[in-house]
């Protein structure tokens, strides 16, 4: 077990270095540079551009630029090209904003996907199963921002739930309880909209996993010995069907960054995805690279975590 973990951590560290080199080369080899963001600005003279390029080490060879980036990241002194703010605190601040959205969406996904999926599997081929299948496909197929806009139109009219930003402007002096309620109120729609796709996908997965388990011999045995249907479904079948989902906890981690760009943009949520989007627009290489790097760390940590969790919950699996 420990040997497995240590070997995997080492392998993943090597992967991480390769990933960061690939990301670095892709971003620096693509055309477009921080100095070219605003070519129409008449105040940008050639000597200004030269000064910017020198300040950002853009004239150095690629491997030196990579070394500078690693050095600055390791010492925590990496500065954004855009506003010369340190990158790590900036990302950390945005991460804290994204976190509640991510947690709420994840909780919604897991609470709704399991009942719908299990119920559909228990009634295979019935009206409920077929209609929930169709609804799931419909939700997978609708462009996320199209659905969000329709929801915004409808919900602002009917319920008056706020759909912009994280908090109401000008409430800084209010009682903490009011401020908390305000924050929660602002979370409602963005987290529901980011959960929709997840509920649809995960409930399909739960359904097929449940069908797989329900046709096993031990379920037939449990029925044959006269157990109640609930005991068979929840005590015997569900427990085994849950195994692959335990590992999904690990794979959730990278969703913190990748999945949120669109929704944070729609709802003006000042989170990590939006930081990335703004950094891309401004050709802010240190921020883009660092977000990519963090995403890679999360992905690798997530897959390792899921391997370990799998071995912990399923005694049939031995890591060697």
């Amino acid at each position: 077990m420990w040997a497995f973990i240590i070997r995997n951590v080492l392998q993943r560290l090597v992967l991480l270095v390769i990933v960061s080199i690939v990301a670095h080369s892709v971003i620096h080899l693509a055309p477009g540079e921080p100095s070219e963001v605003d070519p129409a600005n008449p105040r940008m003279k050639p000597e200004d551009i030269a000064r910017i390029r020198a300040a950002f080490h853009l004239d150095d060879p690629l491997y030196l630029q990579y070394a500078y980036w690693v050095q600055d990241l390791a010492s925590g002194e990496l500065k954004s090209f855009k506003d010369s703010q340190p990158v790590l605190p900036k990302i950390w601040h945005r991460f804290l904003n994204s976190l509640p959205l991510f947690i709420c969406a994840t909780m919604l996904i897991w609470t709704f996907a399991f009942p719908t999926g299990i119920y559909a599997a228990m009634r295979r081929g019935a009206v409920y199963d077929r209609s929930s299948t169709f609804v799931a496909y419909a939700l997978i197929s609708v462009p996320g921002f199209f659905l969000s806009y329709i929801m915004i139109l409808w919900i602002v009219e009917v319920f008056g739930v706020p759909v912009i930003g994280m908090k109401t402007f000008g409430m800084e002096d209010a009682h903490p309880a009011f401020r908390l309620m305000d924050r929660v109120w602002h979370l409602v729609i963005p987290s529901i909209m980011s959960a929709v796709l997840g509920v649809a996908v995960l409930s399909r997965y739960v359904r097929s996993q449940m069908l797989e388990v329900i046709s096993q011999d031990y379920v037939r045995t449990a029925r044959a010995k006269g157990l109640e249907e609930d005991a068979v479904v929840y005590g015997h079948a569900l427990r085994n069907a849950l195994l692959p989902f335990v590992t999904m906890f690990g794979l959730l981690l990278p969703g913190l960054i990748g999945g949120s760009v669109i929704f944070e943009q729609i709802f003006a949520w000042p989170g990590l995805g939006r930081l990335g989007y703004e950094a891309i627009l401004a050709r802010d290489f240190p921020v883009i690279l660092t977000i990519n790097f963090i995403a890679a760390v999360l992905t690798l940590a997530g897959t390792l975590l899921s391997d370990i969790l799998y071995a912990v919950v399923d005694p049939r699996i031995r890591l060697q």
Partner: protein, 326 residues
């Protein structure tokens, strides 16, 4: 689909109990039982006709020209007729009606949608074509020549570690980064979506190849002295293609959605080309004044992506022998 099942079917021909059914007939029987998938298939066939017709008509027939600007006729709701005194006769839309209304420049949304259907579909198909080719190539290499050593590691390790590296990037963020940095062009979008989505196919094909390599018909092909190229492409690839086909169908749907998401962020296909994605994201600014500019492309994308997903699911049911018994 599979050589061995076909032979088994013909060998026991005399027995009355077993129905004589070629794999293709079996596939058609299971696929047509799924009414949703058949409906999806019909929609896709219509869409294909519309896309080809749209390409031809908008290129060569004046009444369908999607770029005719008729400023006096802007923001007309669907089914309104053009104002006769300002629009020249040869510039009138088809049927003398704006079937889907007009946009902020007075362009006919119906012909823009027709033009866009070809562009949107070709983005989907070319992106998936690229990703499937890379996936089959790398997966096949890793599965078939996996044990060959290069310098210090085997081909299998090399390819699969590279796949792991690619899986580490958050896909949409990577696509966004590259598309934003490259000069805006429809081909860049196709290529970038294709280059960032081959990893699933690669893993499928490798797994299939690993198990196929050990099967008797491959050993027999070796024993007959067939060249490796023929063994791989004539015998192994057709047997490994089923899951690839399913994921390709769903991949086209994903690519169309990705294009519309990129358009929403402003990095999609740029103006002279109309795609459903950029008609939709252009329409979002007029959602109160001209709701048809937003809802028509949105619903069109929804229906087409749904059709692709349903057909993909139908193919999965029909091609996967494990699911058939249930």
């Amino acid at each position: 689909m599979n050589d061995s099942t076909f032979n088994a079917g013909t060998l026991v021909e005399d027995e009355p109990l077993l129905p004589h059914e070629t794999p293709w007939e079996e596939f058609v029987r299971i696929f047509t039982k799924d009414r949703l998938a058949v409906a999806g298939g019909v929609i896709l066939a219509l869409l294909l006709i519309a896309a080809v017709a749209g390409k031809v008509l908008t290129e060569w027939v004046v009444v369908f020209d999607a770029e005719v600007v008729r400023l006096p006729d802007k923001f007309l709701p669907p089914f309104s007729s053009p104002s006769a005194e300002v629009v020249a006769l040869q510039e009138e839309p088809i049927f003398g009606l704006y079937v889907f209304g007009t946009d902020e420049l007075g362009r006919d949304v119906f012909s823009r949608m027709l033009q866009g259907s070809f562009v949107s579909l070709s983005i989907g198909f070319i992106a998936v074509g690229i990703s499937v080719s890379i996936g089959i190539l790398l997966g096949g290499l890793a599965g078939y020549y996996g044990s060959v050593k290069l310098w210090c590691m085997s081909v299998d390790t090399l390819i699969m570690r590279f796949t792991d590296v690619m899986l580490c990037f958050p896909t949409f963020f990577l696509i966004l980064t590259v598309v934003a940095l490259l000069p805006p062009s429809i081909y860049n979008i196709m290529i970038v979506i294709g280059l960032t989505s081959w990893m699933g196919t690669c893993r499928f094909v490798r797994a299939e190849f690993l198990s196929l390599r050990e099967q008797d018909f491959v050993t027999a092909a070796h024993a007959l002295g067939l060249p490796e190229k023929r063994i791989i492409f004539r015998h192994m690839v057709p047997n490994a293609i089923a899951p690839v086909l399913v994921s390709a169908t769903i991949g086209v749907a994903t690519a169309i959605l990705t294009e519309s998401a990129l358009s929403f962020l402003g990095f999609g296909v740029q103006p002279p080309y109309a795609t459903w994605g950029n008609i939709l994201s252009g329409g979002k600014g007029f959602i109160f004044d001209a709701p048809w500019l937003f809802f028509i492309p949105g619903i069109a994308i929804f229906i087409v992506v749904l059709a692709f997903n349903l057909v993909g699911e139908g193919l999965r049911e029909a091609m996967n022998p494990k699911l058939r018994s249930r």
